[in-house]
């Protein structure tokens, strides 16, 4: 069997966050700035007061052709991990390896960067520019975005008049038009109509068949994960607690883990209901 190439490798990644006490977060921020001002290298190995590990000892590889599903309860560190992989957050320690000029595009909330008073067409240029595209690159992709989003004449109306589904269509079409090597979708396909979502899923499956392409797909909607992913990672309290190439097995583990606080009987009852729904 042909050995697959990792596009991205995450090794011993740790990240600290200050807890919900905002004043401590600010205090730690001032401390970090002070270290930077004095040129002191400041990599945390110990937690400061009121800090916690939002990511702890994360290790995984993302191979070309992967659609790696990531599930975990709220606050398990999924979004922080995605923001760290996308280079938005800096890791406290550890490393992310990847080929030179690896293009990582992340969509977290679809409407971010859109301007309500500008038309859909103007917003294509605004959002495309945010993803690092030049005007000529956007011009070249305009027909694809128009066609994929299926927004037609609506593209010349102000974005403020769009429904959330229409915004989702536009945002997804722009993001995929950038042709990223690693495409991060963090709960971003939670909105929009099911026909368009089905189109996105079909497109993603085809997309990762191209060389050097992979997707990190974060969602707590297990049916979506089941439908699209070829590998699964389960996160809890900042750690990867389970990895599997058998998506059904991985989702069983995740659901059982989510229901662990229930009594045996309640757990069986809920699990059966979910299994009946198609897992």
């Amino acid at each position: 069997m042909k050995k697959r190439k990792p596009l991205l490798s995450v090794r011993d990644l740790n990240k600290t966050f200050s807890n919900s006490d905002i004043k401590y977060s600010m205090l730690h921020g001032i401390q970090d700035l002070f270290y930077d001002l004095l040129g002191i290298k400041n990599t945390h190995t110990k937690l400061r007061d009121k800090e916690f590990w939002t990511l702890k000892n994360i290790n995984f590889d993302l191979f070309e052709g992967d659609i790696l599903g990531i599930v975990g309860s709220n606050g398990s560190g999924k979004t922080t991990l995605m923001r760290t992989v996308a280079n938005i957050y800096q890791a406290s320690s550890g490393a992310i390896y990847g080929k030179k000029n690896l293009k990582v595009i992340a969509i977290f909330t679809l409407s971010t960067g859109f301007r309500e008073l500008f038309t859909g067409r103007e917003n294509i240029y605004i959002k495309g520019a945010m993803f690092g595209m030049s005007k000529s690159e956007i011009d070249a992709k305009l027909a694809f975005i128009e066609s994929f989003s299926e927004l037609g004449k609506h593209l010349d109306k102000p974005l403020g008049n769009y429904s959330s589904g229409m915004k989702a269509r536009l945002a997804y079409s722009i993001a995929i038009a950038t042709e990223p090597d690693v495409f991060i979708i963090d709960e971003a396909l939670a909105v929009g109509d099911s026909v368009f979502k089905a189109k996105c899923f079909d497109h993603l499956k085809q997309y990762v068949k191209k060389p050097n392409k992979a997707v990190l797909f974060v969602s707590n909607q297990i049916r979506k994960i089941l439908r699209i992913s070829n590998r699964l990672m389960v996160m809890q309290e900042g750690q990867i607690i389970h990895e599997s190439s058998d998506i059904r097995e991985g989702l069983h583990f995740y659901i059982k883990n989510c229901l662990s606080h229930l009594s045996e009987e309640e757990r069986k009852h809920k699990l059966n209901r979910i299994l009946d729904a198609g897992i």
């Binding site: 700035l33 996308a86 938005i88 800096q90 390896y97 990847g98 008073l117 500008f118 030049s134």
Partner: protein, 274 residues
């Protein structure tokens, strides 16, 4: 497998990033200027109307006789109009740059792009917003009988130290606005107070006890005075002091840019946005 992905610093990298993201800068400039006026019927005509309102109010003040600015070689409204324009040039770039993180926090925590793009955008928007009132001010200065000399052409270049100072303080305070809002507010109010201690609405020759002493030690006296003098009279106001202040500001600017590049990656996680 390549080396660990790291964030690179340095001037060459800044220039490359600004070039790579030139289209984003253009888009942000466009948004910044047009967004404000999209709901307005008269649109960007406001850029022309605001300085005209400012001139009218200073003329009214002067005619009322409540101001005692000291002797000015040109009509007082012309003097104060130019002085306030120079001060606003400094203070506006400070506010613009100091709000880059809090103003675009959502975009910053959701999308990776070089943050120096936001600084470049603020500088361009600032220069556009300054240019229009400046042209109006020059027309009004001509109306008040100011005879410009050839050396007045140096005026835009004399504003460079004020621009760099505004950017430098703004870069430092942009972090404080996120993690130390009290300090940011102190600096905001401090700069408001500094205006009172700088010959803006009065001349450097004003006789006002302790204030006269303070303005001698205030570097803004020379930074503002030099630019004003070159435009109004074609002369050089305390050139050596201005040059000394400018050199210090340039060093401060280099330091703050370096600090910005190192610290910006750590400030992102302190921005509260979901």
């Amino acid at each position: 497998m390549g080396p660990p992905r790291t964030i690179r610093h340095g001037w060459i990298q800044i220039i490359k990033n600004l070039n790579d993201y030139a289209f984003l800068i253009r888009q942000l400039v466009r948004i910044d200027i047009l967004d404000e006026y999209k709901r307005s019927f008269i649109g960007i005509a406001w850029l022309f109307l605001v300085p005209i309102f400012s001139v009218v109010s200073w003329i009214l003040f002067d005619n009322s006789g409540v101001l005692n600015p000291g002797d000015t070689e040109v009509p007082y409204p012309a003097f104060v109009l130019l002085s306030t324009s120079i001060w606003v040039f400094f203070i506006d770039i400070y506010y613009g740059v100091s709000k880059i993180f809090v103003g675009r926090s959502r975009m910053i925590v959701m999308t990776k792009f070089p943050r120096e793009v936001l600084v470049a955008e603020k500088i361009i928007v600032h220069l556009i917003r300054f240019l229009i009132p400046l042209i109006i001010n020059i027309v009004i200065l001509l109306f008040f009988g100011v005879n410009f000399k050839w050396s007045a052409l140096l005026f835009p270049f004399t504003l460079l130290p004020l621009l760099l100072l505004g950017i430098s303080i703004g870069l430092i305070i942009s972090f404080f606005r996120v993690v130390a809002t009290d300090l940011a507010k102190i600096v905001d109010h401090g700069l408001g107070f500094l205006m009172i201690l700088t010959p803006i609405v009065y001349t450097p020759q004003i006789e006002a006890g302790i204030l006269s002493e303070i303005i001698q030690y205030n570097p803004m006296t020379y930074l503002v005075g030099f630019s004003r003098e070159i435009l109004l009279n074609g002369g050089f106001f305390e050139p050596w002091l201005w040059l000394g202040c400018s050199c210090l500001i340039f060093c401060f600017f280099l330091f703050t840019v370096r600090f910005f590049l190192i610290a910006e990656v750590k400030i992102v996680e302190r921005l509260i946005s979901n």
